[in-house]
């Protein structure tokens, strides 16, 4: 599908963006940019993964990511089956490995997993020979989200090299932020984070980012402002004060946006808490590219399935 596919060695899994090379990220983004065309046709389906089986296992609630992956696999003609924690036997005391051994007995080609524990996808990737795609593991990584974010940024900025991306909110507990930080720094972008001390402690510098406190300190230079979702119900003891204080100190409103670059991109991994991370006029305003992110999500996931499972990389017979 792309000349670039030959450049990078085929990988078995996509567990995270840390350690993934600039060349490989570029290859995935290039492939996604090409594969987008399929989604604009009247017949939105190609036979690339016909006969391949993709299982999606979501051990955490998700609607959009799961639907996006399902649709991506279907548009490549794979057989897709999935389950979420509510309908699986994990609530009956079965361990993750037990569940995986059962899935293995059906001889799948790929497992897409979202799990509340960091490293759960890695455990399965080590134990089984099918491909594993991490759709979010605990507070660790969410690589396809970061890839779709980077594709969206690249569409608008031309390149990521030398650009400044501000990530605002609970960076410490965000897998979206981690994957973006790993991917963006690899691509040569500068990442600046801001938020309350319990969410953006100075120790985050170890990830290769600049740590600031107030949102106003990061707005001026940023080409992109990525607002993270506040998941109040998931936060531990004494991490956050009143929501109103958060919105006032760390939220994005039109007034603040006017102090940013005129061409700044406003991003959010969704779902947005309108009035908390940003005001509705910003969320739905002209600088917001939130819906482009969603549509690029589909393309990136198709590209990844194609690169991991497509026939031209060899290994057509998996025994």
């Amino acid at each position: 599908m792309s000349d670039s596919t030959a450049r990078v060695a085929r990988r078995k899994d996509m567990l995270g963006l840390r350690g993934v090379s600039r060349e490989e990220i570029t290859q995935i983004l290039d492939t996604a940019a090409q594969i987008r065309r399929v989604n604009r046709r009247r017949v939105k389906k190609v036979p690339t993964l016909r006969g391949r089986t993709v299982v999606s296992a979501f051990f955490e609630n998700s609607t959009r990511t799961r639907m996006s992956f399902d649709l991506a696999a279907k548009r490549l003609s794979a057989d897709v089956l999935g389950f979420s924690a509510g309908s699986s036997s994990t609530k009956k005391g079965e361990t993750l490995m037990d569940t995986a051994r059962n899935i293995d007995a059906w001889r799948p080609d790929c497992l897409i997993i979202r799990h509340p524990s960091a490293g759960a996808p890695h455990m399965l990737a080590k134990a089984f020979d099918w491909s594993v795609i991490n759709a979010g593991d605990g507070i660790h990584e969410h690589p396809t989200q970061a890839l779709l974010d980077m594709l969206t940024m690249r569409d608008h900025l031309g390149t990521l090299e030398g650009r400044t991306v501000a990530i605002v909110g609970d960076v410490l507990h965000s897998r979206v932020a981690r994957s973006n930080i790993f991917g963006l720094t690899t691509m040569g972008a500068k990442v600046v984070v801001a938020g309350p001390g319990t969410m953006c402690p100075p120790t985050l510098e170890a990830l290769g980012v600049e740590v600031r406190h107030r949102i106003d300190e990061v707005l001026e230079d940023a080409h992109v402002v990525m607002m993270l979702r506040v998941q109040r119900e998931r936060l531990g003891k004494a991490v956050m004060t009143e929501v109103a204080e958060y919105a006032r100190l760390y939220g994005l409103d039109l007034d603040r946006l006017q102090r940013a670059r005129p061409d700044v991109l406003v991003m959010h991994p969704g779902p947005i808490n309108r009035g908390v991370e940003m005001t509705p006029d910003v969320a739905d305003g002209e600088r917001s590219v939130v819906l482009e992110q969603v549509s690029n999500g589909l393309a990136v996931r198709m590209a990844l399935l194609y690169l991991l499972l497509g026939e031209d990389g060899g290994d057509g017979d998996r025994g």
Binding site: A118, G119, A120, L207
Partner: protein, 424 residues
């Protein structure tokens, strides 16, 4: 076993290292009637130990033996065998059992059962607080009378400073050591690895060094206040050993033990292992800086080394990292890990694994005439490829896959071979 005690042995040609007496030379060691003697007599069984070294038997102050209540992890029998295979002649079982060892009769009953084991001698630490809940004091006096070697809340840290103070005050006149895990429980909730850049990168929640530092600070302050004998087990941070060093300089009766694996492994190994749950440990693996400080503390005599033995089954470890049970087996690998970490310094190993822990129990680990024949024969030049434990029921050996220096060849407990690969 009665016959074993009367047996006599002449162990020939080994380097005999006894830090207690300061002797370190190649000589024959004679054993008769369970004690070391000048001449075992003409009927003694001769053991050729050329090229080997003999150290006083190792002593572990806090091993989880799972008995009663967790018999799928370990039993007195398997734990005792694992200890002997690792060169330990005395293993103190921690009270993290079900039911908790918090009453005199239970401890007396366990003592009786332990008398029948064939490997290392098994002794028991009675609980400090009832059900290890950290609220009410356990039957400390009755347990001491029943033979408790120490008093301890095992892997649990006592969060309430007043309860800890009272426990130390109550235990002090009995003269037993109080073994504590220094930690601030509230700071450890949800933590699974050392809090630092590695945890941040791999998305696991952290156990901050500050927790151990605070726990150590509190234990030292209360040892000063109550004059209790305090042993801190599971020390893993530079800050904590520094505090223990100062406490010892001030003359307090405070000692500490470092899990042998913490002298080899660091938090980066968790990242390298891709979330291998055998590296989910308590205390966790810390940084290279911590490891250096721990090694220095062992060299300076501030700290001893412990096996940190927490055997777990496959069912408990085969989980997502955060959901797997914390702990690692250690009795069978502790010697090689310690010898490797201490660059082959056998005399220092003997101090770290034998002399110092024995002295916490008020015992002398010595290889002189008249002493109880508790000793271990080791091959200091052997290369040991660490695998899953062979004698312990635990599957979780954090050092698995590593090649370390040294191997235990035989272990003698009071004149009886508790483990022996030398005899035909």
């Amino acid at each position: 076993m009665a016959t074993a005690v009367e047996q006599a042995f002449r162990i020939c040609g080994a380097r005999v290292i006894c830090p207690f007496s300061g002797r370190d030379e190649v000589r024959d060691l004679h054993v008769r009637g369970g004690v070391l003697c000048a001449d075992a007599g003409p009927d003694a069984c001769v053991i050729d130990a050329d090229g080997l070294a003999i150290l006083p038997g190792f002593v572990d102050l806090s091993a989880h033996l799972g008995d009663p209540g967790y018999l799928w992890r370990e039993t007195l029998v398997t734990g005792s065998r694992a200890g002997a295979a690792g060169g330990f002649t005395t293993v103190v079982a921690s009270p993290d059992t079900d039911p908790v060892i918090d009453r005199g009769p239970l401890l007396a009953n366990l003592e009786q059962r332990a008398a029948a084991v064939s490997g290392a001698r098994v002794r028991f630490a009675g609980a400090l607080t009832e059900r290890l809940a950290g609220m009410e004091l356990a039957e400390i006096g009755c347990m001491v009378d029943a033979g408790a070697a120490a008093i301890s809340d095992g892997g649990r840290a006592v969060g309430d400073a007043l309860v800890l103070r009272r426990a130390l005050e109550y235990a002090q006149p009995f003269g037993v050591p109080v073994i504590l895990r220094p930690a601030e429980p509230e700071l450890e909730k949800d933590g699974v690895v050392h809090e630092g850049p590695v945890a941040l990168r791999i998305g696991l929640r952290g156990l901050p060094s500050a927790s151990e530092e605070m726990g150590t600070g509190r234990a030292v302050a209360l040892a000063r206040l109550t004059r209790a004998r305090v042993h801190l087990h599971g020390i893993s941070t530079a800050q904590a050993v520094r505090q223990v060093r100062v406490a010892q300089e001030q003359g307090l009766d405070v000692s500490c033990g470092i899990p042998a694996r913490n002298l080899i492994l660091v938090d980066e190994d968790v990242a390298r292992s891709q979330y291998d749950t055998s590296l989910r440990l308590l205390p966790p693996l810390r940084t290279g800086t911590d490891r250096e400080a721990l090694l220095q503390a062992v060299r300076d005599g501030v700290a001893m080394v412990t096996a940190g033995h927490v055997p777990l089954s496959r069912v408990e470890k085969e989980h997502e990292f955060e959901r797997s049970a914390p702990g690692g087996a250690g009795l069978e690998s502790a010697f090689a890990a310690t010898l490797t970490a201490l660059d082959g310094d056998l005399a220092l190993v003997a101090e770290a694994l034998s002399t110092r822990p024995a002295s916490v129990l008020g015992e002398r680990a010595a290889l002189s005439e008249g002493c109880r024949a508790d000793l271990v024969l080791v091959d200091p030049l052997a290369e040991t490829c660490i695998g899953a434990p062979q004698f312990s029921m635990g599957v979780n050996e954090p050092l698995s896959g590593r090649t370390l220096r040294g191997a235990v060849k035989a272990t003698m407990v009071a004149g009886r071979w508790a483990f022996n690969t030398l005899l035909p």
